[in-house]
């Protein structure tokens, strides 16, 4: 496929876009940002539990993409590379947070949390119910150990393949599958009352 100027950037693959960006085409960078901005924000938000911190991490990820574009080699998929950067930055933020010993609502254990549980009645809006369920799941994900949290978010929320996840976290495929399975079992135990 020729990379003519008249073609819309939407026809380019991620790998073609990063190659163009490495050659100096900044429009390719903007397109990559637009493609991955929301996806990465959703991923990091599930990881950290806070939207503002998640946005900061994604900003840092895109900044690294801009500054270190030449570090990317076409050996791996671009998505693997950028998810790895985002995950590493999110991990760093999580470690900083632990050092600050700041307690967030999403990090509190089940006993400490106080939810205003809405009454499940026919006249309660579905949106409220959905929001409640979403918050419970997000809190349960936050309670998972870090190595479980990463893989379960990448698989069940970001819907990446096992191979991609294995490349992102840097562990064998069998380990990824095992961790995902155990994370699911742990989550279902915590969310039994939701069914």
């Amino acid at each position: 496929m020729s990379l003519g100027k008249q073609q819309s950037p939407f026809v380019y693959t991620d790998e073609q876009l990063i190659a163009r960006f490495q050659s100096g085409d900044e429009r390719a960078y903007v397109e990559l940002v637009n493609r991955y901005r929301d996806r990465l924000t959703h991923f990091v938000f599930q990881f950290l539990g806070e939207i503002e911190q998640a946005e900061d991490v994604v900003q840092d990820t895109m900044l690294k993409l801009y500054e270190k574009k030449h570090y990317y080699r076409e050996i791996a998929k671009f998505s693997t590379w950028i998810y790895t950067i985002a995950r590493n930055l999110a991990n760093t933020e999580l470690r900083k947070r632990k050092r600050r010993k700041t307690t967030h609502l999403s990090q509190m254990t089940r006993d400490e949390r106080q939810y205003e549980i809405p009454a499940v009645q026919p006249d309660v809006g579905q949106d409220v119910q959905n929001e409640f369920v979403a918050k419970r799941i997000q809190a349960a994900i936050q309670d998972l150990p870090e190595h479980f949290k990463t893989v379960i978010i990448l698989r069940d929320i970001q819907e990446l393949s096992y191979d991609d996840i294995s490349n992102i976290v840097g562990v064998p495929l069998g380990t990824v599958k095992s961790r995902i399975n155990r994370a699911r079992l742990q989550l279902q135990a915590e969310l039994k009352d939701l069914r």
């Binding site: 637009n34 929301d38 924000t41 599930q46 998640a54 994604v58 929001e131 799941i137 699911r184």
Partner: protein, 179 residues
Amino acid sequence: MNRYQFEDLISEYIENELSLSKRKEFETYLEENPEARSLIDSVRYTMDTMRSLPKVKANPKFNERLMTRIKSNIDWSATPMPSKGTFFGFTPIHASLLTGLMIAFVFVSMQLFYPESGTQITERQLFADEQVPSLSNPGLNTVNRTTPDLADAEEDSLEIDPKKQQQKDFSKKMHFVND
């Protein structure tokens, strides 16, 4: 198959990734343990719920904020940074010049604020003007600050004083050796 093996295979069963033989073994366990089916349903429900979580999107001003950060990073990196071989940001040449200037400044300050040290130096200079004693010019035991004027001499150097000459005659003591 035991309970632990069954639980290890739940995800692969739900995602249709078990081999035929493993799947048969798994389903045999399910038939023998009907309560295990509720665990599968629970895991399936959790997976579906996670997939249906509302997608969190970035702030509409995300791109604008990002471009501002990139621009400020470019501006910052454009300012020349001191290289590694510098002393507090100064190159070696500049550092030596500054050091020399500082030493000169200290020296001049000492001259201005401690003038006694200057007179001592001038006295030393006076002493230094006197001739250094040598073999050809044996030094005197006492320092004679007055320079002798030949016109003021009371004696005529041409008049020979025999006593003085005798005192000075070493011929009897000197033995000349033929080469």
